[in-house]
């Protein structure tokens, strides 16, 4: 029964909250969406915490995503023992970096009373829990890169196709279950915390012209209605 809730219902609740919450936040509270960097207040520990954390967790997330979206290709990639070993070792190393990074960020928060709210603690604690359970699972239940494709990946796919296969997760050890449930707890927190900054990865910067010039009315062009949210989103022509 609890498995049904945790793996059949809770993921949908979390995703619904994430999507609805993010839409609401973008519509009415867009100015609150920010990564809220605290580098101004503390510089050194941030470097040793934030850089390893972000790069490691981005790589790990991409691996999770790749294995879920392309299980066949992922399985063939890990088909040879050498490749599987290489992936396990690099995964463990990245996991270690992520855990150390997020732990340092958590410790660092105690020195930043001014810009730290309750939600910062919750987010950091859950992220540490997530990274730590991931590392624990990877270390104690070897070859996760391979068995993930047969267990969690089909479960996630079944969620996506609206036919949740709770049985896929039911027999797994408690640590794996915790890792999965906590992942969706973090998804649910997306709109409620500064994790919302995940939705604004600024890749468009790579091809944007260096100067941004905003006109209330394009020169010589037709008058267009300025959108009502914020100065920067007024009628824009870039040059």
């Amino acid at each position: 029964m609890s498995d049904l809730f945790l793996f059949g219902i809770f993921p949908y609740l979390a995703v619904a909250l994430a999507v609805g919450g993010l839409v609401h936040r973008y519509r009415t509270l867009r100015h609150t969406v920010t990564a809220r960097s605290s580098q101004l207040l503390e510089d050194r520990a941030l470097y040793w915490g934030s850089v390893p954390w972000h790069y490691a967790i981005l790589a790990i997330l991409l691996a999770h995503l790749g294995a879920t979206l392309f299980p066949g290709a992922w399985g063939r990639l890990l088909g040879a023992p050498g490749r599987l070993l290489a992936l396990e070792v690099s995964g463990l190393a990245l996991g270690g970096l992520a855990v150390l990074g997020i732990a340092l960020l958590l410790v660092r928060r105690s020195r930043l009373g001014a810009s730290t709210g309750a939600m910062d603690w919750v987010v950091l604690a859950l992220l540490l829990l997530q990274a730590a359970t991931g590392l624990y699972v990877a270390f104690t239940l070897r070859w996760g890169g391979a068995w993930y494709v047969q267990t969690a990946a089909p479960w996630l796919a079944s969620l996506a196709t609206l036919s949740p296969q709770v049985d896929r997760m039911a027999p797994l050890p408690a640590a794996v279950k915790l890792h999965a449930v906590n992942a969706f707890a973090l998804v649910a927190l997306l709109p409620l915390s500064k994790l919302a900054h995940l939705t604004s990865l600024p890749v468009a910067y790579l091809w944007r012209p260096p100067q941004v010039v905003v006109w209330r009315r394009a020169p010589g062009g037709p008058v267009r209605t300025p959108r009502p949210a914020g100065g920067g989103s007024a009628t824009a022509s870039r040059g």
Partner: protein, 489 residues
């Protein structure tokens, strides 16, 4: 030709008395909130000095502004790829101690202290988290310490001076300093805009004011390191960048910006400049020594009918054109060549110009020369120091401005006091390339001009541009207050 209008300004440093009235007016209006207590959109520094934030001029440290790579301007802190790679930690970002830790006092202690032999004191506490602190620095901490070995000696601009010149600057009885009020320069080629991964910072097409969209800012903080003037500040409470908005809500209704309005020394001039946007990149790519001249070249004469026609075709309104013709900034910058950009070598094409200060260069008793003033050659503030600030290292442009300032003084001295031989005044004018009429005009705009002459605000016609389509009663974003639109719109 792509003609655009730019609201720009001139600060006349000879008239700055370092009273900070500008800073306080700005502080009370814009940065008195949690998160930006430390931020001074307008600050007044003593030069030579380390400034605010400390050593902001040191671009080896902060990597601000532009360099030239392959004949094109490139951000010194790195291109888009490098910038994205540093999202998680910006190696060139100043931290709070480079500004100062904001503080207040626990005034309640004065009332709650038990009776005793000592006077009660109010302990200083941090505005960040309320813990007691020992104040180590504060706003304008180094005021008037122009010759001090602690503050002034750190000035990056001193590096270009010889040891003898530095010694001379700091010799107490000949100590030289002057005030440098600074606000955002609203540059033509702003590095902060180019560095923002979110595209949150933008330049307004109509008037050139550079603003941060608080809706789009995501706290990537690249603007702060990219601005070589360190005039973008990070609000640590909201996680957004904030900067001088040139009081655009005041400008749009025809009021002078607060720091201009309150300026006691009446050092501030505001007006419209027309420029050719198509020539910006080429101007910003010229060698250091030519940058001041290159910046003057992109400015267009509003009295020229051809320019006016191009401007109309580019969408510049008649009101703005009219204001451009009366612009005091045009006179100081182009017509007379008196006002110079600050640190043009950072290639942002700053649109705030400074008339360099004559006083620290020349104040002192008359000696020899037969004249009332000492000569530029024997000035006690080395020209090379001033050229580092206002000439991108080129002493000639600074010297030319000084020749004119000196000539105006001699000319007026001869006219009003009459203790100078007319030939001396005429000689100085000739050497500076000024006519007596021009000298009188410079004197007038410097010393006598009223507020409407000093601050010429164009009708921005915002209502004309928005009224046909937008309900003027509904304002959804104003300054840094967030007025939420009704849900559903």
């Amino acid at each position: 030709m792509n003609v655009r209008a730019q609201i720009s300004s001139v600060f006349h440093l000879d008239k700055c008395i370092g009273c900070h009235t500008c800073s306080v007016a700005c502080k009370n209006q814009w940065t008195d909130r949690r998160g930006v207590e430390y931020a001074w959109w307008n600050d007044v520094e003593t030069k030579p000095g380390a400034g605010y934030p400390v050593l902001w001029e040191d671009q080896e440290k902060y990597r601000g502004g532009w360099t030239v790579e392959g004949g094109r301007p490139a951000l010194r802190q790195g291109g888009p790829g490098a910038t994205l790679a540093r999202l998680f930690h910006n190696p060139a970002l100043p931290v709070l101690k480079d500004y100062y830790e904001p503080f207040t006092y626990r005034y309640q202690d004065l009332f709650d202290a038990p009776a005793g032999d000592d006077q009660p004191t109010a302990r200083p506490i941090s505005l960040l988290d309320g813990r007691p602190i020992d104040i180590e620095s504060g706003p304008n901490w180094d005021d008037d310490l122009g010759g001090s070995p602690v503050y002034a000696a750190q000035d990056p601009g001193l590096a270009r001076l010889t040891a003898a010149e530095r010694e001379q600057l700091f010799e107490v009885e000949r100590l030289a300093f002057f005030y440098l009020p600074r606000i955002c320069n609203h540059c033509l080629n702003p590095a902060c805009v180019a560095a923002c991964p979110s595209g949150a910072i933008y330049k307004r097409g109509e008037d050139g004011v550079v603003l941060v969209s608080q809706d789009k800012c995501r706290s990537w903080r690249m603007c702060i390191s990219a601005c070589p003037y360190k005039k973008v500040y990070y609000n640590w409470s909201t996680g957004k960048s904030e900067k001088c908005i040139l009081c655009y809500p005041r400008l749009e209704v025809g009021e002078a910006p607060a720091c201009f309005h309150t300026c006691v020394g009446r050092i501030r001039y505001l007006g419209v400049l027309l420029y050719d946007a198509d020539r910006l990149a080429a101007a910003a790519s010229r060698p250091d020594a030519e940058l001041v001249e290159a910046q003057r070249e992109v400015l267009l004469d509003p009295a020229d009918p051809a320019v006016a026609a191009e401007a109309r075709a580019s969408g510049v309104s008649e009101q703005v054109l009219e204001a451009a013709r009366r612009s005091p900034v045009w006179r100081f910058v182009k017509e007379w060549g008196l006002a110079l950009p600050l640190h043009a070598e950072w290639r942002t094409l700053p649109m705030l110009f400074y008339v360099p200060p004559l006083l620290p260069a020349l104040a002192g008793p008359a000696e020899g020369d037969g004249g009332f003033f000492t000569s530029l050659e024997r000035a006690r503030l080395p020209l090379r120091y001033l050229a580092g600030l206002f000439g991108a290292g080129n002493t000639e442009v600074v010297e030319a401005a000084y020749r004119k300032l000196i000539a105006v003084r001699l000319h007026r001295r001869a006219a009003q006091v009459g203790d100078l031989p007319p030939a001396a005044a005429a000689g100085a004018l000739a050497a500076a390339g000024l006519t007596p009429r021009q000298a009188d005009e410079i004197y007038r705009l410097t010393a006598l001009a009223s507020m409407p002459e000093r601050v010429v605000i164009p009708g921005l016609a915002r209502e004309e541009q928005t009224e046909p389509t937008a309900d003027p009663q509904r304002q959804y974003a104003a300054g840094f207050g967030f007025l939420r639109p009704p849900v559903g719109r």
